[in-house]
């Protein structure tokens, strides 16, 4: 039984553009999958459907056999806590410091103060941001924001990690740091879904690659390469 299942999902916008067209995709627990394709292929939409940020026009999305889009609004936060998300535009809270951006996730999970402080400091150290703990996102570089976004996504040990173009805005050095981090997270048993259009990264990872083009899956290979 797959951990995640996209069952014939389509997304159409009112003016007629088709973002996803009957996509079927099953992802097993512990898998590392890269979703590749040109800009506008539907990669981000697919990830957003998984956290119920986008509702499919047709089809269903399951996590552990639960239809994500049939969840009650009150149940949704608990699903989202199982999925750590690294967004393309980071989505950090501008009014909170780096420390608070991470601690926030633990706060609403109801952790006690000493646990929050300890875990947040540890995670900041893992991503090499301990000296920037009191900085606001506006005071951080692109690479630092990216690492902070990773730290927030990982702090509560999610079962699934979504990384949407995590290297898009980074220089080569930072890019490989992120790739190493993703592999480390995966080694810990987390299911990783990465979207990218960086050919070099995908080919180096040598994992399952699903290629999307014009909203359709055009290839799905166990040990895939970037084909477009």
């Amino acid at each position: 039984m797959p951990l995640i299942l996209f069952d014939a999902v389509s997304k159409l916008y009112p003016h007629g553009s088709v973002v996803l067209d009957k996509v079927n995709l099953a992802i097993s627990r512990g898998e590392f999958i890269s979703i590749v394709g040109p800009s506008g292929a539907g990669k981000t939409t697919l990830l957003r459907m998984l956290i119920a940020d986008v509702i499919p026009t047709e089809g269903k999305v399951f996590v552990d056999d639960v239809d994500v889009h049939r969840l009650h609004q009150k149940e949704l936060p608990f699903l989202r806590r199982r999925i750590g998300s690294v967004f393309q535009d980071y989505k950090l809270l501008p009014q909170k410091t780096a420390f608070e951006n991470i601690a926030f996730v633990l706060e609403f999970e109801g952790k006690n103060l000493s646990e929050i402080n300890k875990t947040t400091e540890e995670v900041l150290e893992i991503v090499g941001m301990q000296d920037k703990a009191k900085h606001f996102p506006g005071e951080l570089s692109g690479g630092e924001k990216q690492r902070l976004a990773f730290a927030r996504a990982l702090v509560n040990h999610p079962e699934i990690l979504l990384a949407d173009e995590p290297t898009g805005n980074l220089d080569p050095l930072n890019t490989w740091d992120v790739v190493r981090l993703l592999l480390k997270i995966h080694e810990g048993g987390t299911t990783v879904i990465l979207t990218s259009h960086d050919k070099e990264i995908i080919n180096t990872l040598n994992n399952r690659v699903v290629t999307l083009d014009n909203g359709k899956i055009v290839s799905d290979e166990k040990k895939g390469r970037y084909i477009l």
């Binding site: 509702i55 009014q95 706060e107």
Partner: protein, 301 residues
Amino acid sequence: MENFKRIFNTGALNFWRNGWLSTATVGVMVLTLLMVVMLIFILIFTYNLAGELQNKVDISAYFKPDTKESSILRVKEDLEGLAQIKSVSYVSQDEALYSFKEKHKNDPVSLQALAELEGNPFEASLSVSAKDIKNYQFINDYIYSRYQDILDNVNYPENQSVINKIASFIMGIRIAGLTMTVILALIALLVSFNTIRLVIYTSREEIRIMRLVGATNWFVRGPFLVNGFLQGVISSFLAFVISWPIIYYFSPKIKIFMPSMDFNYYFTSHFFLIYLILLFVGVGIAVLGSALAIRRYLKEY
């Protein structure tokens, strides 16, 4: 409890960090609450004005000269028992004569005319004040129907048109006061609500992010409500502190026109009540405004 503390701290921290936005919102709220103070005093003013005019109106029932004082006092007692009547005062024939003489002591012609008459030409009377100006017709009819045998006349018909004019004027003052209060209160409310809505609108992306990373609606909403609460508390305090010297300055000026109207006395003697009203309205507007404004962003999937 710990969660409540966290939400409160986050709200307070946001209030502090959004310094300019908080200041602007508090500024608008202070203006709204000053308007509330003004409305309270407009209402008191119109109420007192109407009351004072009403107090100036009464009617007198005159009794035949041979009526015994005890009969008139029985009528007085009967009238005092009526719910529509505020007060009844008895004016005996002697008192009527005395007060005429006092009133005309510098008018020798009137006094001479009085001296030429035999005995006391004045009738004993009851002066009746109604609780409401609209009750005079009823009182007039009541006295006529029950005491026709001893009654000479009631001066209501002669004064009826003046009483009616005063009655409609009083009604006008009350309606104008209330209408003004309602309109100004609505304007103040709309301005405050829209300011709060704009503040929350600027935070919509933040709200979305919090929800996307798994925060429950209460965890998202809580700090905004705390923020609103702080805005309400601070702005009500400021409005109270600002309105005091304003009232202190204008009170003597209003007193010149209406000696019975002492706003300063009213303010100091209702110190806590006025502050509580401001606190209640301020916190109410800010918290309710925030809750309503944030609702639409929490409804999104």
